[in-house]
């Protein structure tokens, strides 16, 4: 109960910081990813992400605290191993979002940089989103993630790790340009060589150049299985 009051206070505080014309929502964000490693070193990945909000700063107070489905994203990637540290991927994506279902094509270059403490994961993506009666959205995104083992210099099965990542996303739809940013802090556990679980706080901001600067704060739980 104490924790819940603290959370409510935090949300009211965040809301008061931002003016009413700024959109704020928060909720739960479970995700799961399956990665199959092929004999040629390439990989196939399937991922599902589900967003359920429980608070929005809408005008009608009765609508503010309400658990409701926001969106579900399904995606699949084929990832080519270009070298032990570099890979190229092509992905397809489908979004289930009330009144705004969408499909997306994704192209990606990812590489790993091994550092003295943990490693850095770089991911450069371009994507094109198609939605009925809307112009195509073209985006360019770059994510930098720092994966830090918490119990030594290397991550061994059974150990915890931290991931700090940030991803600016540049989008163009018709003549409208926008920037989104995603800052994520995750606490993970490498259960064994095949299973990982991550608890994260994902803070997304967008609408910098359009009406309604938007903040979204997600409490994530992610499960990663590779075989």
């Amino acid at each position: 109960m104490k924790k819940l009051s603290l959370l409510a206070f935090l949300l009211v505080f965040i809301q008061s910081v931002y003016a009413q014309d700024r959109v704020f929502m928060t909720g739960f964000f479970p995700e799961a990813a399956l990665t199959k490693k092929l004999s040629n070193g390439n990989k196939i990945n399937f991922k599902v992400e589900n967003q359920e909000y429980f608070y929005r700063n809408v005008e009608d107070p009765s609508e503010r605290w309400k658990v409701s489905h926001y969106r579900t994203d399904l995606m699949a990637f084929y990832d080519w191993k270009a070298s032990p540290l570099y890979s190229l991927a092509f992905g397809v994506f489908h979004r289930i979002h009330e009144g705004a279902n969408a499909n997306r094509l994704i192209q990606q270059l990812a590489f790993i940089q091994r550092t003295r403490i943990g490693r850095l994961g770089h991911r450069i993506r371009t994507d094109q989103t198609f939605q009925t009666a809307e112009q195509v959205v073209y985006r360019l995104r770059y994510r930098l993630a720092w994966d830090i083992p918490l119990e030594g210099t290397t991550l061994d099965p059974g150990e915890k790790y931290l991931v700090i990542s940030d991803e600016p996303i540049f989008g163009l739809q018709g003549e409208e340009f926008d920037i989104e940013n995603r800052l994520v802090l995750s606490l993970g556990k490498l259960i064994d060589e095949q299973n990982k679980i991550e608890y994260s706080i994902d803070y997304r901001t967008d609408g910098f150049f359009q009406d309604g600067f938007r903040n979204r704060l997600w409490f994530k739980i992610g499960y990663f299985y590779n075989f």
């Binding site: 990945n45 070298s83 032990p84 091994r114 119990e151 210099t153 590779n226």
Partner: protein
């Protein structure tokens, strides 16, 4: 002929086993407190490197035992000092740049890469000093080379002429002659990639 074949097979198996053993694969590594380190290791480090402040201590577990490792920065280089389970010094590794090696040693190493790889990129170079406890101590605090053996441990990304494109860790002797290598397994990064 049959005995000859059998002996050859036996020798190959033995060599393979020896190679696997010599790689000493670390199964688990964790950071530990100074209070968990054997006294002998703390004393040796204090005698050999009087000026270092707070080294970070780790315990490494192998299939058949464990060891201790101290990591620290000293005189602009990263050091890694390995001790056995009783705290006896095993070796000291110092990270350097390839350009810091004597030119004849570097040329010998580069000749090995040029012969065996289509392309390569050096990632990390370490000089490994090993020898008796007192000899190693004298080397670090008095610069005496007596009884100290030198080898070079180099991590590099190399595409072999035969096709294997991997991250390798190879050991070269004091003259830069290739001794052995192993493939470095990169842990899957599905959470960073997708």
């Amino acid at each position: 002929m049959r005995i000859y074949r059998f002996s050859l097979l036996f020798a190959a198996c033995f060599l393979q086993a020896a190679l696997v053993f010599s790689q000493g694969k670390i199964e688990k590594e964790k950071s530990i407190k100074k209070s968990e380190v054997p006294e002998a290791a703390l004393e040796w480090l204090d005698d050999a490197f009087e000026e270092i402040k707070k080294p970070k201590w780790y315990q490494e577990f192998f299939e058949n035992g464990y060891s201790y490792e101290a990591k620290f920065r000293f005189q602009e280089h990263f050091y890694s000092v390995e001790f056995d389970s009783l705290g006896r010094i095993e070796d000291v590794e110092v990270e350097i740049q390839l350009s810091e090696l004597a030119s004849e040693i570097r040329e010998t190493i580069e000749a090995y890469w040029d012969t065996n790889y289509e392309k390569y990129k050096v990632l990390k170079v370490q000089i490994q000093y090993s020898g008796e406890e007192d000899d190693l101590e004298d080397f670090f605090d008095e610069d005496s080379m007596e009884g100290v053996r030198i080898a070079y441990e180099i991590e590099y990304h190399g595409k072999e002429i035969s096709g294997a494109d991997e991250i390798w860790e190879a050991t070269f002797d004091s003259a830069g002659v290739f001794i052995s290598k192993r493939k470095i397994i990169i842990r899957i990064s599905d959470n960073l990639t997708f």
